[in-house]
Symmetry: C2
Subunit: 98 residues, 2 copies
Amino acid sequence: QEKVENKTPLFNESLKKFLNTKDGRLVASLLSDFLQFFNLDFTMAVFQPEINTLNGLESRDAVARELGILETEATKGAPLMLELMKRGRHKDRGSSFA
Amino acid sequence: QEKVENKTPLFNESLKKFLNTKDGRLVASLLSDFLQFFNLDFTMAVFQPEINTLNGLESRDAVARELGILETEATKGAPLMLELMKRGRHKDRGSSFA
């Protein structure tokens, strides 16, 4: 009982800090792009209030621009996170076209 | 009325295809890592059934290994997506330590 009142919403604090950084907002925006891309409407409906970001998130176009991703027919066929992952991964596997 | 029965769950099909690729599963696992990192339990509770992946997703450790990310104190303080984004972004801004 006495513990309850002392319980600080730690996750809110760390998330709030994260979303107050430019990179943090971009990451959350990438996540939002994924949910929108696959029409994960139910997840989106919970994600938005749960992250509770007053300023909203960046659009896909803005994120792509910020990350220097030039959208092509190929990149448009997937969430931006895929493109980012392909870039970031070590190039030790030759066969990841698509 | 007649349209309803013809309505195919397009998003499920495209998501299913995506999750059947190795990269797709990694991307979804990165997203799951983000939700877990920030204890976004409500979003997670909707995300898991909505993506409906029978095989489950990769753990953070597995994703880090797969992407060649060596976890340090710094990387452990954020979702893996942040590390990936830092890697993938063009190096035209010098000041993104953290």
